[in-house]
Amino acid sequence: MIQFFLGSGLFLCVMMLFSLYRGIFGPTVLDRLVGANAIGSKTVVLLLLIGFIYGRVDMFVDIALAYALLNFVAVLAASRYFHKRKGLYEESTVE
């Protein structure tokens, strides 16, 4: 069962790399924000898997809960920031 958890964690890391592509090469700032949000939501599950592999779930579940909260607050704060500052444009069309 631990091997299956390890394999799931590795698969999640590959999915995080896919989302990181959108975070790096995204045409707008909001695309990068979407990529970061997707990485954060995968990290919650990855933290729980790490807790099961190490046998300390009772500790890691609190960290995962705090990380989910932090991810939500970060995305909310960044998008409220772009309400005020209208500096969004398509980087591919500027060139």
């Binding site: 069962m1 299956f4 999640l12 995968k42 919650v44 995305v75 969004l88």
Partner: protein, 108 residues
């Protein structure tokens, strides 16, 4: 034995949903359409994987393990409220900044 099978099926469902979400984030043509897999499939993936892990945690039943499983279900509850809020907020920022949605005749 049967609980392991159920846990493996739930985790595999979650991984499939995460795979679809990551593929949609890469392949979709537009920012607004990229939010569609990012908002829904990640939430569903978290729900399946976390409920599978909470079920596996109750393998040997104690009250502490029950408390930890309830905390995992609390993560699911929180994500089901926070993910639509974050998605709505990002879309609102895009609309206010004046990003036009992708139309059919543009090549992207």
């Amino acid at each position: 034995m049967i609980i392991n099978t159920v846990v493996i099926v739930l985790l595999s469902c979650g991984l499939i949903f995460f795979f679809g979400g990551a593929l949609g984030i890469i392949r979709m043509p537009d920012f607004y359409s990229r939010l569609h897999p990012a908002g829904k499939l990640d939430t569903l993936g978290i729900m399946f994987m976390t409920s599978g892990l909470a079920l596996y945690n109750l393998h040997h039943f104690t009250w502490e393990a029950l408390l930890v499983s309830l905390k995992m279900l609390l993560i699911v509850f929180f994500v089901f409220h926070s993910s639509p809020t974050a998605t709505h907020s990002i879309v609102d920022a895009g609309i206010r900044a004046g990003l036009r949605p992708w139309s059919k005749h543009e090549r992207r």
